[in-house]
């Protein structure tokens, strides 16, 4: 899966979680940018990514995610392993 495909799939997960088809995230997107992005939706996002990409993400990895860009990098790294 290349970076573009990862990016598209990540956007799909966000649209499902926020029940909003018009959402498009970018590398700089953070919780401050999307209404309703709280602790429980953050966990939904992580769970959604785990299911969509068939990977396991730990809390220690979540700790270091400051924006969507960090998430994209983490997913790319996990898919390459």
């Amino acid at each position: 899966m290349n970076n573009e495909q990862i990016f598209e799939k990540v956007n799909q997960v966000f649209r499902v979680i926020f029940k909003n088809e018009s959402i498009t995230v970018n590398r700089e997107t953070t919780a401050k940018d999307i209404a309703g992005w709280d602790s429980i939706t953050h966990l939904d996002i992580i769970t959604g990514m785990e299911e969509a990409f068939q990977v396991e993400i730990t809390g220690f990895e979540v700790m270091n995610l400051n924006n969507v860009g960090d998430l994209l990098d983490l997913l790319a790294q996990k898919l390459a392993e």
Binding site: K19, K32, A35, G36, H42, L43, G59, M63
Partner: protein, 496 residues
């Protein structure tokens, strides 16, 4: 000067270089905190705003913490304006309570202009350019310290004014119960609009300890864990639901041996959650702290011990005994005291109890009264009992109030807004627990599009009040008495 400010100033004078505040990789000494607070208060006075309260927009930066002290130094009180709340709600809060100025970062200016004009905004960067204005002196002890807004069943948030005298009564107990000093690091993982933040901030600062604040965006529990780990925090306050996130993301295998005190609060504490936390924070003692905002953060506290397990009801730990200045009664429907082990409503009284809601005299009369000794009492609406160990145990609520992520939510308020959107009474909201986390689910009658209903709700209520799912049904089922059949809705749609 208020006692709380005097206590802080004591540390500023004796140990100015001691760390007062750590936020991410940024920190302030007590001297820096005080200098900024003084500068902001002078700036506030120089603005010559009309009489009224000062809003503090929750930028969750160092400056925000100095602004709290600044409002008090300037002889004012503050109202937290949670940036995560919808604009409509913040607008109603600022109007309802007479906010005349708002402290904020320059980056939040555009948001705050929705509530007040430019000349009423106090920007931190501008405030550091010191005008030469004297501080106002000697506030009376009755002076208002802050006002917090909580969910109201009629759709209007209730403003709860808390005075310095109330806060002082709480802090006297805190200092005695939790003696802290230079080497203690205290976690503050709550939004300023949630009153537990006040207890964390001032329990630390009046004793010269260091306050550690994690990022409050994303998963707060994870960020709190990171802060505990990175800064070796030893005094931790968390809602029990934090453990759900830590467990789910496999973080509880990391030992935190330096944590010596943990307070669980904001929600009922399941005993197994306390045990799970102790498997990670192996050297901690655990307290369960209970209290409505009306009673100034905490009114009863229970210290878990070897007898806790046998005292649980429905797996929940007791809420213990009243704090130093709180009196308590457990009463039946007629207001008569009930006996040991009998269930009744908890009433709390004493100098921590507020005197009534902002602009809601009728609601205030329902729940607050003064006895013939002049003591204020608050009827909590919580059903409790006193067990054989003389510990109070929480049983359930008298009404439709629930705690979501530590926040008090009136189901009636969520229904009120939902009904306003669909312009019909055919809406019902249920709270349902999944894996130890309580969530809201709504049911509406008619062909409604869930995403657009969710978006409209997000414009009206804070995130924690937006239902996790909204089910649009052809018709809401009714039971034999003609009421919406909540049991059926729960079993058909929510039990997985």
């Amino acid at each position: 000067m208020q006692a709380v400010l005097k206590d802080i100033f004591q540390t500023v004078s004796v140990s100015p270089n001691r760390k007062a505040l750590i936020i991410a990789s940024d920190e302030w000494s007590y001297a820096a905190l005080w200098n900024y607070a003084t500068a902001y208060s002078k700036w506030l006075n120089a603005r010559a705003l009309p009489d009224g309260k000062i809003g503090i927009y929750t930028d969750n930066c160092k400056e925000m913490y100095a602004a709290i002290l600044a409002t008090w130094l300037a002889g004012r009180s503050f109202i937290p304006l949670n940036h995560k709340f919808p604009k409509e709600r913040l607008k109603s809060i600022t109007e309802e309570s007479g906010v005349v100025g708002i402290f904020c970062l320059e980056s939040s200016q555009a948001n705050c202009l929705e509530f007040l004009p430019q000349e009423a905004l106090i920007l931190y960067n501008a405030a550091t350019m010191l005008p030469n204005v004297e501080l106002s002196e000697s506030l009376a002890s009755e002076d208002l310290a802050y006002t917090l807004f909580t969910s109201g069943s009629t759709g209007i948030p209730k403003g709860i004014p808390i005075g310095h005298r109330h806060l002082q009564a709480l802090l006297e107990d805190m200092k005695e119960r939790y003696p802290l000093g230079e080497n203690d690091r205290v976690l503050q993982a709550f939004e300023l609009s949630f009153d537990v933040s006040i207890a964390c901030i001032f329990t630390a600062w009046v004793q010269g300890a260091t306050l550690v604040v994690p990022d409050l965006n994303g998963i707060t529990a994870i960020n709190a864990f990171k802060a505990i780990y990175d800064h070796q925090v030893n005094f931790v306050t968390l809602p029990p639901s934090a453990l759900f996130y830590l467990r789910r993301l496999r973080m509880l295998s990391m030992p935190l041996p330096w944590v010596t005190k943990t307070i669980f609060t904001g929600e009922a504490l399941p005993y197994n959650v306390a045990l799970e936390w102790k498997s990670c924070a192996i050297n901690t003692s655990v307290d369960n702290a209970y209290g409505p905002t009306e009673g100034t953060v905490w009114s009863l506290i229970y210290a878990l011990d070897e007898h806790t397990e046998e005292q649980t009801i429905n797996g929940l730990c007791p809420i213990g005994k009243p704090t130093r200045h709180v009196q308590m009664r457990i009463v039946d429907d007629k207001g008569e005291d009930v006996g040991q082990n009998e269930r009744g409503e908890l009433w709390i009284g004493g100098p921590q109890i507020f005197h009534g809601y902002v602009n809601q005299p009728d609601k205030s009369k329902e729940v607050v009264f003064q006895d013939n000794q002049g003591v204020y009492w608050y009827k909590t609406g919580d059903i409790v009992l006193k067990n054989d160990h003389d510990q109070v145990v929480y049983v359930n609520r008298k009404d439709n109030q629930v705690q979501i992520n530590g926040f008090r939510v009136e189901l009636g308020e969520v229904e009120h807004h939902l009904r306003g959107i669909i312009k019909s009474e055919a809406a019902v909201v249920l709270a349902h627990e999944n894996n130890g986390v309580l969530e809201l689910f709504a049911f509406v009658q008619g062909k409604w599009d869930e995403p657009s209903l969710m978006n409209e709700m997000r414009l009206k209520v804070p995130g924690y009040m937006v239902p996790r799912s909204i089910f649009a049904l052809e018709a809401l089922p009714v039971n034999t008495s003609g009421k919406v059949d909540k049991t059926l809705l729960r079993s058909k749609y929510l039990i997985r």
